[in-house]
């Protein structure tokens, strides 16, 4: 068993050196495709952060000043409850809830975040309308509510949300297509590398088959080679992802406040998850690509 492992590793390393150019090409292609795939995931996450306050079909948010009294809030509640025709549901998001949301929305803007605390952050009413497409009625509702005391502002989804949602769908779809195409190219390149490696060693493979080596014995070093190529590609992609994400996060914090980009950063553990995913995809794709290439060569 140990000599077999030694054999496998030796063969893999020898094959690696023999096909340096092709190997490097395969690694770079897989790295770029995995990087784009990783960036797609991070972008999606950024957009999700941006949309966090609109979760659950919320179409209208009423911001209430921090200093509002209980009576003033009751007035807003009554006004919303009265509109049974228009308002299907509404919920109140007190200071702690608003603060938690702000941490996501202003993740890229630590300066502003620092100024906010439970005593000064506006609280929110999140309103789910009966008919979200009836924008005119929603605007009327907004106008009737905005006159109430201590209502800071009222935001409608169709003025903010729709643009972001469309952008998210567009960016997400096309980067995903791009990364899958590139990943496919990477698999083809790895496949071709392995085919070349096997062609260079066809005599050896013929001898192996004739003395009774099993197909798996011959295939495993080649699959390991593809797997390592995918792994290196994945690790390089992780490095690129980390660098880009870091530069972006640093750049966003220098943007002027209220530029709308503050939520478009990912600075939590999600980046690590994405890295694990892309390394995993790289390894699996490499092993499968080379496994297929090897199998086609083994019909001696």
């Amino acid at each position: 068993m140990l000599s077999r492992l030694g054999y496998t590793l030796r063969e893999t390393w020898a094959s690696f050196r023999r096909n340096m150019t092709l190997t490097v090409a395969a690694i770079i292609t897989s790295a770029v495709s995995l990087l784009i795939f990783g960036l797609t995931m991070l972008m999606q996450r950024g957009f999700d952060n941006l949309l966090v306050q609109w979760e659950g079909d919320v179409e209208m948010i009423v911001y209430v000043n921090a200093g509002a009294s209980d009576e003033q809030r009751a007035e807003i509640t009554n006004a919303l409850s009265a509109q049974t025709q228009l308002v299907e549901d509404y919920s109140y998001c007190p200071a702690e809830c608003s603060l938690a949301e702000a941490h996501t929305l202003l993740a890229g803007d630590p300066g502003t975040l620092e100024l906010l605390d439970a005593s000064n952050i506006p609280t929110q009413y999140k309103v789910v309308p009966t008919d979200a497409t009836d924008v005119d009625t929603l605007r009327q509702l907004r106008d009737s509510l905005s006159g109430l005391p201590n209502v800071q502002s009222i935001v409608l989804a169709d003025e903010q949300l729709d643009v972001i949602a469309k952008l998210k769908g567009f960016v997400g779809l096309y980067t995903l297509i791009l990364s899958i195409t590139l990943l496919f190219a990477a698999i083809l390149l790895i496949w071709n590398t392995i085919r070349t490696a096997m062609f260079a060693r066809r005599r050896e493979i013929e001898v192996m088959k004739l003395v009774g080596a099993t197909d798996w014995f011959i295939r495993v070093p080649f699959m390991l080679e593809g797997l390592i190529q995918g792994f290196i590609g994945g690790v390089i992609a992780c490095g690129g992802l980390w660098l880009i994400n870091n530069r972006w996060t640093a750049g966003v914090s220098d943007f002027p406040p209220n530029s709308g980009f503050a939520a478009l950063v990912v600075n939590d553990g999600y980046t690590g998850v994405v890295m694990l995913i892309i390394v995993g995809i790289g390894m699996v794709a490499g092993a499968i690509g080379s496994g297929i290439a090897a199998s086609r060569f083994l019909d001696v």
Binding site: V211, G212, D215
Partner: protein, 225 residues
């Protein structure tokens, strides 16, 4: 040990490599396959180690019909068969020792067994002391001895030799034949395809003659023609 029953093998639509071939080789026998180029000698050897499959008939090797042997069992079959070729098929980037050890490595023999058996077989083929040479540093006869050592190191039941002396001068060829004879005397069944009249006439072993895919002669203690 080997039995062919009405074996027919064609390549494509029209080329008939073997037609209705039948014969029986008991354990330990030495058989020459003779006939002009393209008469079906190599095809016959390829059928025996399942590099090819016939359209019709049965091929029995060591008590098994190997025509419908599942692919997963083919390696096991080949471990019982040694192969020697006209062009040696040695791996040029490996030393003599490594070339022979390779045949044991790929079937998972442990290192200490390899270290013990390779020198023994090198001694048998008369190449003791040349373990560290590379194939290009050896003469043709020596290279063929390495290839025979590789074919024999796993003690196969059967040795298939396809024109093993075809690339060698007569004297060197005789040395190879003495070696194959010695291996045969250990109980290994030997099938050898050859053009070499002198060798066949000197050895006086069983001769199976092929002509355009048909067995035209099967003679004990035969001569070339």
């Amino acid at each position: 040990m080997i039995r062919l029953e009405n074996v027919t093998k064609t390549y494509g639509m029209s080329v008939v490599a073997l037609r209705d071939a039948s014969f029986d080789v008991p354990k330990g026998e030495f058989v020459f396959l003779v006939g002009p180029s393209g008469s079906g000698k190599s095809t016959l050897l390829r059928l025996l180690n399942r590099q090819d499959r016939p359209e019709e008939g049965a091929v029995w090797v060591a008590g098994r019909n190997i025509v419908d042997l599942p692919p997963g069992r083919v390696p096991q079959l080949r471990r019982n068969i040694g192969n020697v070729f006209q062009d040696f098929k040695l791996l040029s980037n490996k030393t003599v020792f490594e070339n022979i050890a390779f045949a044991q490595e790929v079937i998972g023999k442990p290192k200490h067994v390899i270290r013990q058996q390779v020198p023994a077989v090198l001694d048998l083929v008369g190449l003791a002391g040349k373990e560290a040479r590379f194939p290009h540093q050896l003469s043709g006869g020596e290279q063929q001895r390495v290839s025979i050592a590789r074919a024999f190191v796993n003690r196969p039941l059967i040795l298939l030799a396809d024109e093993p002396t075809g690339n060698l001068d007569p004297t060197t060829g005789e040395g190879i034949m003495r070696l194959l004879d010695r291996i045969n005397k250990t109980g290994t069944t030997v099938l050898m395809a050859t053009h070499d009249q002198r060798i066949v006439n000197t050895m006086r072993k069983r001769v199976i003659q092929l002509d355009r895919g048909v067995i035209v002669r099967d003679q004990a203690r035969g001569v070339y023609e």
